[in-house]
Amino acid sequence: MNKLKTVIKNNKRELILKSPLIGASGTYGYTDEFEDFIDLNCLGAISTKGITLEARSGNEGDRIFETECGLINRIGLENVGIKKFISDKLPILKQKNIDFLLNIAGSSIEDYERLADIAQQNSIKAIEVNVSCPNVKSGCIEFGLNPDSLFNLTSKIRKNYKGFLIVKLSPNTSDITSLANAVESAGADCISAINTLRGLGVDIKRIGNKFIKKTVQGGLSGKCVKPVALYMVNAIKKSVNIPVIAMGGISSLGDLLEFLAVGADAFQIGTANFINPKICTTLAMELKKYIEENNFQDFEDLKTKIKGA
């Protein structure tokens, strides 16, 4: 019996995974990129790099800035586009039997509708919607920061897509509960949180009698964001009834237990993969050992009991 079997469900749909550990979008590639390091069949799933309608070449200039306990990135959604994903990547995922969430992103509501439609036509089991993208048609304000626009966007995607719909929330808000409520009432099956936090890296040097400044503005991730992620997951769980896939700075068994204690149903691992490419399976093994040593029946049993704490 697989003790790590994970059931992510609401009153309409469910997503069953082999393990609660998922490789986070943007840090795990599209398909079998981590195959050299781990057995991908032991993974809960991978969340693909964010896919847009057309291929994107990403941002110019420096894309990575390391901070004391984290990382700022401004990749700019470089990706192969949905067409190439379907023609080149999907067959690999299918052939190798790798479970995945298709992470999608767009710059207009129509983009997302089209992507949802394509996911539906290709019988993709689960999609994760990155809503931390600027809506080009309404002054580049992010879709995910306003409850009304988020409700609208989620409803439109829901209309076109009948599979398991996960909406990934941005932490760059003062009111996460309204956003979570909007997503739930628009018919999403699950929330994942958090995406990266806005951050600025500054490198200032004095060379001769001149200051040389370099800045990198982008999304902050890694260990330093964990307390923010815990706060957000806790707040979301208190305001909605749908399940939550938690992420943000997870790198140890202790982190998994902390997120479970505030209501997480499964986990995604992002930045930590860069430090230890085996982390998803290492944590799965540690979690299994913890379950066995503490005499829980399985992961679902642990989840139920820790939530009562």
């Binding site: 990403g58 990575i64 390391e66 990135n73 470089e78 860069f274």
Partner: protein, 245 residues
């Protein structure tokens, strides 16, 4: 590519700020131009280093050498390791130089000499005519193993003469981006091939995050390529250089 536990086999100071670190591991093969990434204490990201030498010593056991120039906390950590200390490495990463059987000029600017020493060894093994020129800012920085050295001025100034003198057909180079850019342009002008080992701050080191990309032009189409997986070695004719560098 795999994750290995590497044991420090030897560690030796080469200059005031550069250390030669010899790592024993189960790494099976490596080729010049490839690199490793090392996990450093208290750093979020692994640090990339060119493989400067590689030798199999037994079945399942090999020695690989990196040259580490101190820049910040990661390189300082590595420079202070002791024999028998253990480190986690990902190796071998990237595509190395694609060796051509032609008169070769090797250029190492500063710590860029590291992969050139390994390339020279590989070329010598195959009896390919080669000449390594190194450039350093001053006497204190000198790392040995070259055929010729420029101290102070720019190593690039010597190249055109050398290429003609030695009837060079291909140039391999590693060093700061400004130097590589000049070398790439010079080779284009002289109509000879160049292979340049590029650098950029890396996050994953294995091609998944797209944090280390440059623009390249192949068959008239422009695309992005990751230095860590598609590179770090690129043909000088392919690279589209960023402005103001």
């Amino acid at each position: 590519m795999k994750e290995y536990t590497g044991k420090i086999y030897n560690i030796e100071k080469l200059t005031h700020d550069t250390t030669k670190v010899v790592i024993e591991s189960a790494l099976d093969s490596a080729h010049s131009g490839q690199f490793i990434s090392v996990l450093c204490e208290n750093r979020t990201l692994r640090r990339p280093f060119s493989i400067s030498d590689f030798e199999k010593i037994e079945n399942n056991k090999s020695l690989l050498t990196i040259l580490v120039k101190i820049k910040g906390k990661g390189t300082e950590f590595l420079s202070n390791l002791k024999i028998n200390d253990e480190i986690s490495i990902l190796a071998p990463l990237g595509n190395g130089f694609s060796i051509k059987e032609e008169a070769s000029l090797l250029v190492g600017a500063g710590i860029g000499i590291a992969p050139m020493l390994f390339l020279k060894k590989e070329l010598n093994k195959q009896n390919i005519n080669n000449y390594l020129i190194a450039g350093f800012r001053d006497d204190k920085e000198i790392i040995k193993g070259y055929d010729e050295v420029t101290i102070g001025g720019s190593v690039v100034d010597r190249l055109e003469d050398l290429i003609k003198e030695k009837n060079i057909k291909i140039v391999y180079a590693c060093g700061p981006e400004i130097v590589l850019k000049l070398i790439g342009k010079l080779c284009k002008k002289l109509n000879i091939k160049s292979q340049l080992a590029m650098e950029k701050v890396m996050a994953c080191g294995i091609g998944v995050c797209r944090g280390c990309v440059i623009k390249i032009k192949k068959n008239e189409t422009i695309s992005t390529a990751s230095i860590c997986k598609d590179g770090p070695v690129f043909s000088g004719n392919e690279i589209i250089w960023e402005e103001n560098e």
